[in-house]
Symmetry: C2
Subunit: 316 residues, 2 copies
């Protein structure tokens, strides 16, 4: 008897679900049709959902992305995660994620109350600031997490902080330092000087950090851009470096290395685990180990990537 009632109840639940989701009736109408109170109709619809009698199928490339983002968020306990559809024409294209990063910056900067945004390295970050919608927010602050003088002493390679400040009217704080100093002592000396300490203090209060993630292999961006020499890169790789964020190299478990270039690096060191909103932006198969390590080591608590990369991270 119990089984029969159960079955009949599920039948009714299915009926209610059909009438609600497929036929598009209101629960009131369904209640009248099935001769029950509206409350019961609502329960039947709930039951239909709870028992998974009805399933939703979203036939759209976005669906897979949402699914991947949800899984990444869950797996790595992220505060924020976005996965954009992979562009089959250009698998490494940063266009997609740059757009999302820009959107995120837009959202953050739209705030009327003053916010502090910190920017790291990375092509996606550079592309993102270019796409930010101009808006007048003179009370915001934009701060750089990395030195903007390259190894050869030349001018800033790419002034993300300045560009973003242009678009918002915000005060901006580039870090007038070389990427690497010549020794640990010198680095320690430099980061204590007044203007740098001030930048550091502001960065520490940042409401949002947007950083790129670099892999530490022969094509490492820090080397390609001329910030570290081939020898320095190889040394870090020997020491176990698998990725870097704002130049800070970390190993496969996401632990910051305490040797090599990390000792001479002027960049503001990341919080471990990441505080407030620290969003990593990166795409590409080559970056998968670096991204995964950063996630595991909690160097970041947010991620913006593409479908292919997201899938690869989850399948590791």
């Amino acid at each position: 008897m119990a089984a029969e009632n159960e079955k009949s109840r599920l039948d009714d639940a299915a009926r209610a679900g059909w009438l609600y989701f497929i036929a598009g009736h209101t629960q009131d109408e369904i209640a009248k049709m099935l001769q029950v109170s509206r409350a019961s109709a609502q329960r039947l619809v709930s039951l239909c959902l709870a028992e998974r009698l009805i399933t939703f199928r979203l036939e759209h490339p976005i669906a897979a992305c949402m699914e991947l983002a949800a899984r990444l968020k869950e797996r790595f306990d992220l505060a924020h995660c976005e996965v954009v559809p992979a562009d089959p024409a250009a698998p490494q294209a940063t266009a997609g994620i740059a757009e999302r990063c820009a959107n995120l910056l837009d959202a953050t900067l739209r705030s009327e109350t003053p916010v502090i945004v910190a920017l790291g390295t990375g092509r996606a970050v550079r592309a993102a600031v270019e796409r930010v919608t101009p808006i007048d927010r003179p009370n915001h602050q934009i701060v750089s997490l990395v030195g903007n003088i390259s190894a050869d002493g030349s001018a800033s390679f790419y002034d993300t902080v300045g560009r973003l400040a242009d678009r918002t009217g915000a005060r901006h704080y580039p870090m007038p330092l070389p990427f690497l100093m010549s020794s640990e002592d010198e680095r320690n000396k430099m980061v204590r000087i007044e203007p740098i300490a001030k930048v550091k203090a502001i960065a520490a209060k940042a409401d949002m950090r947007l950083v790129g993630i670099g892999q530490m292999d022969q094509k490492a961006q820090v080397h390609v851009d001329g910030f570290v020499t081939r020898d320095e890169l190889f040394e870090m790789m020997r020491l176990g470096a698998i990725g870097e964020i704002t130049g800070w190299a970390y190993d496969a478990k996401g632990r910051l290395l305490k040797a090599g270039t990390n000792k001479r690096l002027t960049s503001i060191p990341p919080d471990v685990p990441a505080k407030t909103s620290t969003i990593g932006a990166a795409v590409g198969t080559a970056k998968v180990p670096a991204i995964a390590a950063a996630l595991n080591g909690r160097l970041i608590n947010g991620l913006i990537t593409d479908e292919a990369t997201a899938r690869a991270i989850l399948e590791r």
Copy 2:
């Protein structure tokens, strides 16, 4: 540009749909996530539905039934239609539809304001009244559409009206007449006599009619039950009879025949097209042509049947 905006809008719609139906967020939350007003989030969810980006799938036998019922309702412009799952163990079983008919009767009889229910022939109708939940409604009226004296002059074959009245305390009006009279003249004379005219007048005001549908073939119920002879049956078949409702034979287009037993029949003739609620109840492959004809001829405006029969009717 237009195409790109369009695409991006659909992407957002898909995102919104995913967040709403799959992740279970409210539209307010989605609005915040997508950085739009709640109204826009609502529009995106609507769009997702309208564009059929999302589909609902109900994995339950009931789903097919609901679908068939909706199609029958649409195709034949029915006021009411129910399709019950076919019982594979007993394809002709009336149990399923009887339960639904009983439910319908329950619903009608539950009314506090007086209602008039008219009953026709059919096993499903008989079974239905047996399943009606007892309820005290002395002001209701139950009226028979057919004579309850069989050809051999014996007592009522099965007193549906009386049974239903027992269960409700309603006044009941059986029709104290033989099913067939010996001639057209005699029939016309009988139906004018006071008690019969009164039954007829009540029946004309019925709020709901529940009738069986019989096929006119060698296994016709009217013959099996002994109401018409083999010769009479064959004559009607020659005249084109394909089905009958309360004994009234009709052809493949649902037109009442004006000859044969129809001229001697005492049953109250059906309204064409059916007025108020006239529900046919029938299952079985053999009855498909009869049911389809009744639907096409608008002899009924409601149908209760099973899945297999519904499918067969729609596939004709």
